[in-house]
């Protein structure tokens, strides 16, 4: 009951943030809306019981990916977007057929397969941080240590590319 209420709240915040993202004219406002979407998605993952995925959602998506988005917006100095009164021609040509195709596909999937007989139970996700830690530090020890070399290469690549001109 509590889970359903919390799920509905965060799902509503998520969809609201996504709609706001599209509606905003300034890229920075859209980027901030995207953070709301990412954060509420993390809460939905948390409700599912996937704590690690929720933490990664915050650290990587709301942290690293958003830094890149905001950085690109600021570097390009992207101002307010201009919208023509008539709208995009691509949207005009493809909008209605695309919407129809999406509706038909959704309807087909729903009627053909129906709702799953065993619905997803909130909080019964088998991928806790404990399980991932166990796997990462026992079975996948070598890949984990090699990952550090991969990150090292990424560090060196970034510095070499950024300072090439000097």
């Amino acid at each position: 009951m509590l889970e359903t209420v919390l799920f509905l709240i965060f799902a509503a915040i998520c969809v609201g943030g996504a709609i706001n993202l599209l509606a905003q004219k300034h890229p920075i406002s859209s980027a901030l809306s995207l953070i709301v979407v990412m954060g509420s998605l993390a809460m939905v993952y948390l409700l599912l019981g996937a704590e690690f995925v929720a933490a990664v959602q915050i650290i990587i998506y709301a942290g690293a990916i958003m830094v890149l988005f905001v950085f690109v917006i600021m570097l390009l100095n992207a101002g307010e977007e201009e919208r023509s009164a008539t709208g995009s021609r691509v949207a005009m040509v493809l909008g209605v057929p695309g919407l129809l195709a999406a509706a038909v596909t959704t309807g087909w999937v729903l009627t053909r397969h129906g709702p799953a007989s065993t619905p997803v139970v909130l909080g019964e996700f088998h991928g806790s941080a404990h399980a991932i830690g166990r796997l990462l530090f026992h079975e996948f020890l070598l890949p984990f240590e090699v990952t550090s070399v991969l990150i090292l290469v990424a560090i060196m690549g970034a510095v070499v590319l950024a300072r090439r001109g000097e």
């Binding site: 019981g49 704590e51 690690f52 950085f71 570097l75 830690g133 550090s148 990150i151 560090i155």
Partner: protein
């Protein structure tokens, strides 16, 4: 499982209410008569000479990229910290090897002068 997070959800709710409530109450009781000088960005009393909406210097690029890289490293620290007691000394040494390789990279960028501003 989600029951364990009820305190966090309550915390989020209270934090949201404090933030929203402060803004709402303040907008209701404060007088509202802005003018040009009041809306100016305040910088120690010096008048701004130009728009703040300028293109950012590319120097921030290296800082942003390095942040992203070390952010990815943090993801690996999380399951390790959760399992720290169970993994014991072996896990500690594993993580120190992992961090050691990255600290080599950190020292390299430091020596390379990539963290210098000019």
């Amino acid at each position: 499982m989600p029951q364990n997070y009820v305190p966090i959800f309550i915390f989020l709710l209270i934090a949201f209410l404090i933030g929203a409530g402060t803004v709402l109450v303040a907008s209701l009781i404060r007088p509202n008569n802005p003018d040009k000088v009041k809306l100016m960005p305040y910088e120690c009393g010096i008048d701004p000479v130009d728009s703040a909406r300028k293109r950012y210097t590319v120097r921030f690029y290296i800082v942003a990229i390095l942040f992203v890289v070390f952010d990815v490293e943090t993801v690996f620290l999380f399951p390790w910290a959760v399992q720290f007691k169970l993994l014991g000394l072996f896990g500690f040494v594993e993580m120190m090897v992992f961090l050691g390789i990255l600290i080599v990279g950190y020292i390299w960028i430091w020596k390379k002068g990539a963290l210098e501003w000019i």
